[in-house]
């Protein structure tokens, strides 16, 4: 009996809850760690990035306004759905990162667990980062963390899934919406993650994933006036300073890239949550 011919996937962008091709019509070839052809992946353009920002901005009021409990459940749902597709993620991570099956499996497991970790943070942040301020006067005065807004994320170039989840999940957990440029050469798990997000109650536009070249799209996002913050973790070598300069034009919050890509298995603490949170302080008099 002849072997069944497999049905291959078309790898597209994930923008506003849909899976469009790049408006530019461009694709690029993605290979596995040994150089064998895997897929032609959509190569996002400046226009795609701008469309993604529009979608992220439109999604912001509802996502940031959702209860923390609700956001936590949605992010936990992402973990649930990912778990069910872990075989597919393992295959992609192993092929792209050149990992053994067991190491790929560990990376996928850690990525699922990371969603669980951040899902649990959503309704703790206000208690841990905010509080009542004992001002010297007849006022009730409290501070609480709020999301910064639309965050552009240049995802790590090497860790195709665990690294991606490690930078995306904290942005969403804080109530921000995201436009992510994925690893250029290892984008397949990101596209599959888009399919997970689309089926996990994450509202369309909250997370937008652009496959392509951070070096090409990054400057447009860093400069975009309707982007509130940029995470430069996956910025191409030598480009971070220029991106930070562009971001200064609209006083964006900037998370600078580490000297080299970190060990994503380490406990992330709050280091990726607080850069994308604002503190709001509210005063009201006390009196009869």
């Amino acid at each position: 009996m002849s072997e069944r011919l497999s049905v291959r996937k078309t790898y597209k962008l994930y923008v506003n809850g849909a899976f469009p091709r790049s408006e530019s019509g461009r694709t690029y070839e993605v290979t596995d760690a040994r150089g064998s052809f895997l897929a032609n992946v959509a190569r996002a353009s400046r226009k795609d990035a701008r469309d993604a920002v529009v979608a992220a901005r439109a999604a912001f009021p509802k996502w940031s306004g959702a209860t923390a409990y609700n956001r936590g459940q949605v992010l936990y749902r992402v973990a649930e759905v990912m778990e069910g597709r872990s075989a597919q993620f393992c295959e992609e991570v192993a092929a792209l990162e050149g990992l053994s099956t067991s190491k790929a499996r560990a990376a996928v497991d850690a990525a699922v667990d990371r969603w669980v970790w951040y899902a649990g943070w959503t309704d703790k942040l206000a208690a841990v980062l905010g509080g009542v301020n004992p001002v010297a006067g007849p006022y009730v005065d409290f501070s609480l963390p709020e999301p910064t807004g639309v965050v552009a994320v240049l995802a790590p170039q090497r860790s195709s899934l665990l690294g991606l989840v490690s930078v995306l999940a904290p942005v969403l957990a804080g109530g921000n919406t995201a436009v992510v440029v994925t690893s250029r050469n290892r984008p397949l798990p990101a596209v599959t993650l888009g399919e997970v997000l689309a089926t996990s109650d994450v509202p369309g536009g909250v997370a937008n994933l652009l496959t392509g070249d951070a070096g090409e799209i990054g400057p447009w996002l860093a400069e975009h006036d309707d982007v509130d913050a940029v995470d430069l973790t996956g910025a191409p070598a030598g480009q971070a300073m220029e991106l930070e300069r562009l971001a200064a034009g609209s006083v964006k919050r900037v998370l600078r890239p580490p000297a080299e890509e970190p060990d994503w298995t380490a406990d992330p603490g709050l280091s990726r949550l607080t850069p994308f949170l604002e503190t709001k302080t509210v005063w009201h008099p006390i009196g009869l």
Binding site: V135, A240, L270, V282
Partner: protein, 484 residues
């Protein structure tokens, strides 16, 4: 507006004596615990109420800044860094007490150099500055409990550039948290208001603060740039205009320097039709006319619900008519002098544009002193959200009045700005206040009050009003290594 007949109860002059301050004819830079000559061309600082020259002040060059940074680095490495945290705290407690002891002197000097009413410098600026040192003193040996991760560590040398609107208070907001967290400081005061910072240097000496822990380098923009761009500065903190803030963010791009920015604002002060109008009017006046409107968080856009617009504006005009403008040292003065002729020119320009664009200008009958820099309290009605006076920060006693019909419209208009520093809400309905406060994109929301500050209460902006917070527990993060 018709001039009111002279009242039989006219206020008699009640000037605070300036004999308590002793202004030297010239000042040097405060570097490594000593006053030293600057290498730049000295500049004068004037009393904006009289244009009298108060003193000549040294201008720091890049070389002077380098000396100051070296002194700060030495102090960080040898004395302040290794010091027991409890002892750092005790120095800050000393400074807080010295500021209280010399409060009147600081208040008079601040009003002379800045032009603000003595009532404000005496009751707000100086007590709050002392409170900031007292508050942060207590943190020095308790940072492990600040929730910023285990064993938080200082950054090193902080370069700080502050504005002229609250000279001593902004110094306190910058210096107190920096020292409490174990950093040392090079501070550049504003060019037009250097005197209280130089008096603060004397306080540091009286406190026996180790040399180099606090260095004060006076000068203009070039001096500030030298501080920001110095290679051995680990942290830059700036309060001032959004334009300069952006250039600073560009300058530190690609470096290791940690940056916090407290920039401009165009706050909406929202008055709902159920608000207690008299209280709201007091809040509106406090929000835009205190400190001559030289306040980044000033309530410069009044959003009034349409059905109470006429009532609020009439009441506001009546109240403004009772404000007393004049000698900043007079204890009855409400509105002092504009800080500089440059700022006065900017206010005049924007007010002219406001009229040219079609808004209605109103000013009370108000006699302005002949000498000095003065601008009367000004209210614009018929303002559209597209007008420059509704968008640009005037940084003067100029209020733009806009209207709204529904809460949604109020929120949309309030958030329709590139800024996000502060906002006000006036309503008697608690659920509405909380709902609106939740939806305003601003770092500080005052409900049924305005322009309140406290060292325990974090202050800072959203959007292009900057990033980082000053005050409270979260304010400490600006001066500590990234917590994991």
């Amino acid at each position: 507006m018709t001039t009111a007949p002279p009242s039989p109860f006219e206020y008699a002059p009640a000037p605070e004596s300036r004999s308590i301050v002793d202004i030297a004819p010239s000042y040097g830079l405060f570097v490594d615990g000593e006053f030293v000559d600057g290498s730049g061309t000295p500049f004068t600082t004037v009393d904006p109420a009289t244009e009298e020259v108060l003193s000549e002040v040294a201008a720091g060059t890049a070389e002077d800044v380098d000396r100051a940074v070296k002194a700060a680095r030495r102090a960080f490495t040898r004395t302040w860094g290794p010091m027991r945290p409890a002892d750092r705290g005790k120095y800050l407690f000393r400074i807080a007490r010295l500021l209280q002891e010399r409060a009147r002197e600081f208040a008079v000097l601040e009003s002379l150099d800045n032009g603000k009413p003595i009532r404000e410098s005496r009751d707000v600026d100086v007590p709050l500055a002392a409170a900031h040192f007292f508050y942060h003193a207590g943190w020095a040996d308790k940072l492990d409990w600040a929730g910023l991760g285990p064993g938080p560590r200082p950054l090193g040398v902080a370069g700080q550039v502050i504005p002229w609107n609250f000279p001593l208070l902004m110094l306190a907001w910058k210096v107190a948290p920096a020292l409490a967290t174990g950093n040392t400081v090079v501070l550049k005061p504003a060019e037009t208001t250097p005197l209280t910072a130089l008096l603060f240097a004397e306080v540091c000496r009286q406190a026996d603060l180790p040399p180099g822990v606090v260095n004060i380098v006076t000068g203009a923009g070039d001096t500030g740039r030298a501080v920001v761009e110095h290679e051995d500065v680990d942290k830059v903190a700036f309060t001032g205009s959004t334009e300069v803030g952006k250039s600073i963010a560009r300058a530190v791009a690609g470096t290791r320097k940690k940056l916090t920015l407290e920039l401009g604002g165009k706050a909406a002060n929202i008055v709902f039709d159920d608000a207690p109008i008299d209280q709201a009017v007091e809040g509106i006046v406090l929000g835009i006319f205190s400190n001559q409107g030289h306040v980044c968080c000033a309530g410069s856009r009044l959003l009034v619900q349409e059905d109470v617009h006429d009532e609020v504006v009439a009441s506001l005009q009546r109240r403004i008519g009772t404000l007393r403008l004049g000698d900043p040292l007079d204890k009855n003065t409400d509105i002092g002098a504009i800080n500089s002729h440059l700022q006065l020119a900017r206010i005049r320009e924007l007010v002219d544009i406001g009229e040219a664009e079609g808004a209605q200008r109103w000013q009370p009958a108000c006699e302005l002193p002949e000498r000095g820099f003065w601008f009367p309290p000004t209210v614009f009605t018929d303002v559209s959200p597209a007008h420059r006076i509704a968008r640009d920060e005037v940084f003067g006693p100029v209020l733009s009045v806009l209207t709204f019909r529904t809460p949604d419209e109020a929120v949309a208009k309030a958030n329709n700005t590139t800024y996000g520093l502060s906002a006000g809400i006036w309503s008697e309905k608690g659920s509405r206040i909380l709902a609106i406060a939740d939806r305003l994109r601003a770092g500080v929301v005052w409900a049924n009050t305005f322009n309140r500050f406290d060292p325990t209460s974090p202050f800072g902006g959203y959007k292009q009003s900057g990033y980082g917070r000053e005050g409270g527990r979260v304010g400490l993060a600006a001066y500590l290594k990234e917590a994991r």
